[in-house]
Amino acid sequence: MNEPIPIAALNQYAYCPHRCWRMFCAGEFVENHYTIEGTDLHQRVHTVGENQREETWQIRAIWLKSEQYGLIGKSDLIEEVDDNLYPIEYKRGHKGEWDNDAMQVVAQALCLEEMTGKSITKGYVYYAQTHQRQEIEITSELRNKAIAAITEISQMMETGKMPPAIYGNRCKGCSLFTQCVPMAKEKVSKYKEGA
């Protein structure tokens, strides 16, 4: 059995494999204002506690684990309504154009299924900025996508092989931008040194 994959790595990998490598293989992490806000949010979320709100049982900040997929991580919130469990992941911002947050929810669902033996059909991402829950339907398509990502991440963590840094829209706001210098490849190849 390899080192377990942090569930959060799935989110990073779906966002940018190179960023995922920097964080989980090279051990680089730099705070920027986005991540600091995120950490503050998670300090509230990451305090273990349970309560009953009307028909809903809530449990916060418990460990999730899957032997089958080699996953480990902490959940923000899990709710149970009418014997149905679903994971809720808290995010600072609003829904982005990448499905990275969904990947994280699917990975949590895979863990929960293995831990409880129940099948999980949906989950949510809670976006703090808009105070909205985005429902994630855990389709077989999403499951397959997450499982494929797990395999790729597992290989990356084992070999240490670095996925290329590709400059694009998502680089804006990335806390590893200064380390990554994603434009360098193109700039260096075009550069003609002065006499």
Partner: protein, 334 residues
């Protein structure tokens, strides 16, 4: 962001809340938010509180310790990054490898091109100055670099190019009372050499800090060979910056008369020269101003300070070593 230099003897460096404070002779002489600091250089005799040391390490701010005259004594560094891949690629390229040859060519080319540009700029300002033969000499040395594939021979070209530049260097000094015949050090025996050595010490603090942030082992270099206690990679990466930063400051301090011959004292017998306290402060200010000055980075095509350029060049070096780019472009300024 900037470096804090503490040059007052018997100062006490401490931490109050989120600020670094310096006291001397029962007076507070500095109180600066830690968030504005990216380096601390302690010159001469000072005391620093453990709380301040811990805070600086946690914030990944390196500390360098130097003698009052600027001789480098040592550093206290935050932990290296966990990026083992950078260090592995650095070690893989060691020796007479194609990558090492490419980098040594680049370090030497960067330095000699910046030497040449400095002489040419001077010649434009003072057309009567007879610098052309040295410029031509440097040009030939630069041209020869691309075809030389042995690191020892590249070192030879670097040595020759440097000798040519230092021969021309006295011609760049245009204030009375300063003379320069040859580069000397350990200890420097004339004011110009004293300033150059001091400046290179400060530069080393900055370049080594940048290499550490990126995750390099500063002791494994390519142009500079391995020797106990010598930060060879820092010396390698310093080469392209020497003329751009230190030599430029020394010349401008002299020629604009910011520092005068009377600002130096000479030891008996050894003739070792050092700057007066006041002149040292002037020099430190000039150095900090230079580091914060902006220019357009020729590769990245954006505004950047020299302080940022140290780290950027270190990142470009890491990218070359890790096969992300096909060359290492030294910082060459026109």
């Amino acid at each position: 962001m900037g470096t804090v230099y503490v040059s007052q003897d018997d100062s006490f460096i401490g931490k109050t809340d989120e600020r670094l404070t310096v006291k001397a002779e029962k007076k507070q002489i500095l109180d600066v938010p830690l968030i504005k600091i990216d380096g601390l250089v302690i010159l001469g005799r000072a005391t620093i509180s453990p709380a301040a040391v811990i805070e600086l390490l946690e914030r990944k701010i390196p500390m360098s310790f130097m003698t009052g005259t600027g001789r480098f004594l040592g550093r206290l560094e935050p932990e290296l990054t966990k990026n083992i891949f950078v260090r592995r690629s650095q070690w893989d390229a060691a020796g007479e490898t194609p990558k090492a040859i490419h980098m040594v060519q680049a370090f030497v080319r960067g330095k000699l091109k910046n030497y040449r540009a400095s002489l040419m700029r001077h010649l434009r300002d003072y057309p009567d100055n007879d610098l052309q033969k040295w410029i031509d000499d440097l040009e030939r040395a630069i041209d020869s670099l691309a075809t030389i594939k042995a690191i020892a021979s590249l070192r030879g070209v670097e040595g020759h190019g440097s000798a040519v530049y230092w021969q021309a260097f006295p011609k760049l000094i245009r204030a009375d009372g300063f003379s320069f015949t040859t580069r000397n050090r350990r200890p420097p025996i004339d004011p110009v050499n004293a300033m150059l050595s001091f400046g290179y010490s400060l530069l080393r603090h900055d370049v080594q800090g940048a290499l550490n942030i990126v995750g390099f082992d500063p002791y494994l270099g390519y142009l500079h060979t391995e020797r106990y206690g010598r930060p060879s990679l820092a010396l390698d990466l310093m080469e392209e910056f020497r003329p751009l930063i230190v030599d430029a400051i020394v010349l401008s301090a002299i020629n604009r008369k910011a520092i005068a011959p009377k600002d130096f004292t000479s030891e008996p017998l050894s003739k070792a020269i050092s700057l007066s306290n006041e002149a040292r402060k002037v020099f430190l200010t000039l150095y900090e101003q230079k580091k914060q000055s902006k220019f357009k980075h020729p590769v990245m095509g954006r505004q950047c300070t020299y302080q940022e350029a140290f780290e950027l060049q270190a990142r470009l070096l890491a990218k070359y070593l890790m096969d992300e780019t096909d060359k290492y472009p030294p910082l060459v300024m026109k």
